[in-house]
């Protein structure tokens, strides 16, 4: 244990000393997306200890936050952990520093996609988001068929599951169903998704930073109240 702590300490010092400009930029970007309070992490491990999928992760959430703060972009983005987060928010309601570890994971996913990296998980999220953007709603039929086409190894799982749901009338195979339900406000949907582009611009300005910082306020207060 003592040995581990010493190693960890050494690591922190070493990585801080060698943080590259790219690493620094990465760290700042995550802080802007997930909240400046991430810097106050005390590495207590409450997040990892609460996480329902921590046993499956290559890097525990606690360590992932450490990697972010050390600007270890490659290691953080390549971790399978960001795709094993179920967004259950338990880490977020429990963090004693009012950090939202789930928001850190979300920020890493955003950067992952911006960097053009790809995995079966990011493919799924991409299909999901594109469908909301174009239709306003999710059609499970469209979602699973597109995912099956793009990630053929999922075919067995999807077909077996479909065989369970189709006879119950829960997934329709009609032409209309295949086209998906489309809302009237699709133009508004497009504008909503374009806000993500605006985020990049906002980040380079001082206003963007202030916004991110302030945005964390009410949420942190909320968690504090909840903890009581």
């Amino acid at each position: 244990m003592t040995e581990m702590a010493t190693t960890m300490k050494t690591e922190t010092v070493a990585s801080t000393a060698k943080m590259t400009p790219e690493g620094e930029e990465f760290r700042e970007k995550v802080l802007k997306l997930a909240g400046e309070e991430v810097k106050t992490c005390i590495q207590c491990g409450t997040c990892s200890g609460s996480c329902p999928t921590s046993s499956l992760m290559d890097i525990p959430i606690r360590k992932l936050i450490k990697l972010v703060l050390e600007g270890e972009k490659k290691a953080a983005l390549e971790s399978r952990s960001i795709w094993l987060c179920t967004s259950c928010l338990l880490c977020t309601v429990r963090c004693p520093r009012k950090i939202r570890p789930m928001a850190v994971v979300a920020a890493l996913k955003t950067i992952y996609e911006e960097e053009g990296m790809k995995s079966k998980d990011s493919v799924f999220e991409g299909i999901f988001a594109r469908q909301i953007r174009s239709h306003g709603r999710i059609s499970e039929f469209l979602l699973s068929t597109e995912y099956m086409i793009r990630s053929p190894s999922s075919a067995v799982q999807i077909i077996t599951f479909g065989a369970e749901l189709i006879p119950k009338g829960k997934i329709e195979l009609s032409f209309e169903a295949a086209m998906g339900e489309r809302i009237e406000g699709t133009e508004e949907m497009r504008r909503i998704f374009d806000l993500a582009g605006g985020e990049k611009e906002a980040e380079t300005t001082e206003g963007g930073e202030e916004k991110a910082k302030k945005a964390e306020g009410p949420m942190a207060k909320e968690s504090k109240e909840a903890a009581k």
């Binding site: 094993l84 928010l89 928001a103 909301i132 809302i183 909503i192 202030e210």
Partner: protein
Amino acid sequence: MKLAYYPGCVARTTGREYEISTRAACKALGIELEEIDDWNCCGATHVSNEVVSTALAARNLVRTDLPVMTSCSICYSRLRAAMIRLKDRKVRERVNEALEKKYEEEKEVLHVIETITKALDEAKDPEEIVVRPLAGLKVAPYYGCLLTRPGGGIDSPERPTILENLIRTLGAEPTDFRLKMKCCCGPIFMPEEEAAAETLIRILRNAKESGADFVVALCPLCHLMLDANQPLLEKKFGEEISLPILYVTQMAGLALGLGAEELGLSMNSVSTRPVLEKLEVKEGAEEEGAEVC
């Protein structure tokens, strides 16, 4: 009472019986539901950009002046999380750039369990409404993750009691279900089936060991994972579970005297017949068993 109803996408596909039973139970309680016009997907857990996910929720909230009710815990959590973000003026301004109708003020957002609980609490004589008490039934209360998160809402995120209380009000007995708040891993099921399966089988085993006649679920994704997925999990792990998974609205509907058809009970994957049989045995033959599915 009149509420705005936000169904969420799953209500129209794999969670169809949740929507059917939500409408039926609310009607029985004298609550009128007005579906939000041209509502959109909340983004669930798959839109990582926070401004976008907040705006998706906000567009739904501004489409009505009534309190908003949803049956889906994910939609519910997303709407609440968005309102927390929207307290910040700058976030509100960003979001409003994209919205036709601007987000100006907070809304009351309710989960259907809250609506049912309130209606029963406010009833002069709950016994008059609970015409078919679920006496003799043991129910595993499955909260899942998002009903109480982020905190500050419906109930304590660590020790909630709302579901156990409702089970008791309806005449049944909640079981001691240790994994009641363990996330079903539904959000990662599609790309990470193996990871989800391990967690799901543990939840189901634990619910069964608690001596429950059925599990009650509050979220269509939890339900999908535990119900439609149950036969697949049984095959995968080579063990029989056969544990009916009822939606909270199906459970409440039964106690309110509604029939199996009205509650979409034949649409559940795992047969709900054992529950109905047990109930009708207790209740005598006033239903003639005609609606048993």
